[in-house]
Point group: C2
Chain length 391, copies 2
């Protein structure tokens, strides 16, 4: 019979999708706003590097049997070696190919990571604000997602609240830095303090606690900074990565799980991903995208537009009286809404052509998200729409 | 803590992999057989059509934002329309895009299909011989796989045994025709009789029973025949397809779920695939492969070599005294082993450079599988190795 769990989910539409669809409809209307500023979707706006295209064409023409043949269950060995070498060089850890499992983007990586270190019924802890999809991802893995309320001052971690939310059932802690939606970049100090908590809780509860680090925005950090590598602070870290933002290719569904070699069980966990995959029906991502990732993993698209846009918006909106924690990276920011109900504010903004997303489903009520992965001139023009809205 | 279910699975190595690895090692040995005839893996041996390569290159160069941008959750609409139109034209059903959900190959399609129409604890019935991966696929979806013993005469369906295995817990029946490993092609008569059983059992148990039809070998049928379309015989059919064999591109991980429009709930079920995906961490297959599938879905690679190889092997081995049901399609056949223990026979064959797989894990003890997706001259030379083995 038809599965009622999934059937019931059909009714619950994502606010983000709803707003972006509304925006698309408004764009075609006669009496609507002059211009639509769609800040709803986190879809990278910069082109893929030319090197990716050339690499793809070359592989398709010169190595058809490698590209179109089955990839080994655990991924193409030389791809894994290259990804490991790049990680090791950049972050000072000693990854080898056996620590890496290629996946279909970060979503695929998370689906594997959850199942490696939890069983149904376990709790996974994360921090607000968080990507709303974490809830179905975790729930459909049979686990419970508990959300630690946000540190509103800097969107780092509120360690007092973390203490209150930690229970013996917590088997994994899920972080996402640089963060969607706040743009916050966890500092070395935050990561060190978090590791201290994990160490203490492991002793207290007499079981291992894993850190699952979702890092699709790792390469988008502003002011010339970098994201301190979470795995360097905690041996039991599983890094979930996607090339969707760094290479501007979300449609190509390529990422990986990297298990921290310092955990002592990294080869085993990476190999277990192949078993998890049998249940998820993944097998490996396409051989073509694996090979491209290996060749292009040290490149990025031209990501500078995101910082330009952030500066424009932060300065312009702050001047208009918005209260914003300045993002350290990503292509998002979360100003506080000037009224208590951010949903109502977002609907009011629509009349001015501004499409922003209320952060209630991100665990941050009273705030809204601006996804500024768009054209800089459009961002500039949006400021006068914001001005009219606030007048 | 580390999930013990997946950890325990690490120890259990697939017989197929073990044998193919052994074959690879033997090939490098000095005192081994003159030539290795590796019939262990079902990896298509013919090249991808030139049209696929050209289509890929053109898309990469001309439509980068379509190729690299996020695909909609339920797949690219124009891709779904084209796949539906092709199915409708070929099989006389009225599919529309809303009945189709693109997936990462047939494995991905099955993972979705199981979850659409079962809940954990349900039983899925299949028929021996069967693809061994059905067991982990079904088990990790939380269901129980029950296997109806084979009809050894023709590898159609033993309807008396089916009757014995049908219980109220059976929510779905899984078929695979053309069949891996036997090469059998279910006849219209078999499918009609099966539909009759499903209809009767639905009344008897007062619940719907779904037919999940795994059809990656649909385009490889011998003697100018075609596979009768299972969906035409039963309204509640979910077709799981992969282009891996028809276009010879398993590494590209592209297939689909097609829900029979006659079920009356096909749009709903196809939409539910998007919800199932959130749990599986799939999202859509790559946009590039979706677009290629849409453009090339009516082409095939040159599949004629499989029939040439089948005829050579069938005639040659029958002459040597092997008892074989003549395959109607695929690139497999399952001769009866000349000794009761097919595993022992397979090990004996290794000394002659012949790598074949005992069918115990396919639910067919006493038989072995030959995967003849290989060079025809090699197949021809293998016959003298078989002759020596049998002498």
């Amino acid at each position: 019979m038809i599965n009622e769990t999934y059937r019931a989910m059909l009714g619950r539409k994502s606010v983000i999708r709803e707003l972006s669809e509304l925006a698309a409809r408004m764009a075609g209307e006669k009496n609507g706003p002059e211009e639509i500023f769609d800040f709803s979707l986190g879809n990278p706006s910069v082109p893929v590097p030319e090197a990716v295209t050339e690499c793809a064409v070359r592989l398709l023409r010169d190595q058809p049997s490698l590209v179109h043949g089955y990839s080994p269950t655990l991924g193409i060995p030389q791809v894994k070696e290259k990804l490991a070498a790049s990680l090791s060089r950049r972050f000072g850890l000693s990854y080898t190919g056996a620590d890496i499992f290629p996946t279909s983007g970060a979503g695929g990586a998370l689906a594997h990571a959850f199942r490696l270190v939890t069983v149904p019924g376990d709790t996974i802890l994360t921090f607000a604000p968080h990507f709303p999809e974490y809830r179905p991802y975790v729930t459909l893995a049979g686990c419970r997602l508990e959300v630690v309320p946000p540190d509103l001052k800097a969107f780092q971690i509120d360690f007092d609240r973390l203490e209150q939310f930690f229970t013996k059932d917590v088997q994994a802690v899920l972080i996402n830095s640089p963060n969607n939606p706040s743009g916050a970049v966890y500092s070395a100090q935050t990561l060190e303090k978090l590791a201290g908590v994990l160490e203490r809780k492991e002793r207290e509860y007499s079981h291992e606690i894993w850190l699952i680090s979702d890092e699709p925005y790792r390469e988008i950090v502003f002011g010339g900074g970098t994201q301190p590598c979470p795995a360097r602070f905690w041996p039991r870290t599983i890094t979930c990565y996607s090339f969707s933002k760094s290479l501007s290719m979300p449609g190509d569904r390529i990422g990986y799980v990297a298990v921290n070699p310092e955990s002592g069980v990294s080869h085993e966990l990476a190999a277990m991903c192949g078993q998890v995959s049998r249940g998820l029906g993944h097998n490996c991502p396409t051989a073509l995208m694996q090979l491209i990732a290996a060749e292009c993993c040290d490149l990025t698209a031209d990501l500078s537009v995101y910082e330009t846009n952030m500066n424009l918006l932060y300065d312009g909106l702050t001047e208009l009286g918005f209260d914003i924690v300045r993002p350290g990276g990503t292509f998002y920011m979360t100003p506080r809404a000037p009224e208590a109900d951010a949903g109502q504010f977002s609907r009011r903004a629509l009349a001015y052509g501004i499409v922003v997303v209320p952060c209630d489903t991100f665990g941050l009520p009273g705030y809204f998200r601006i996804a500024y992965c768009t054209d800089t001139e459009k961002v500039r023009r949006s400021l006068s729409a914001f001005r009219k809205l606030m007048a």
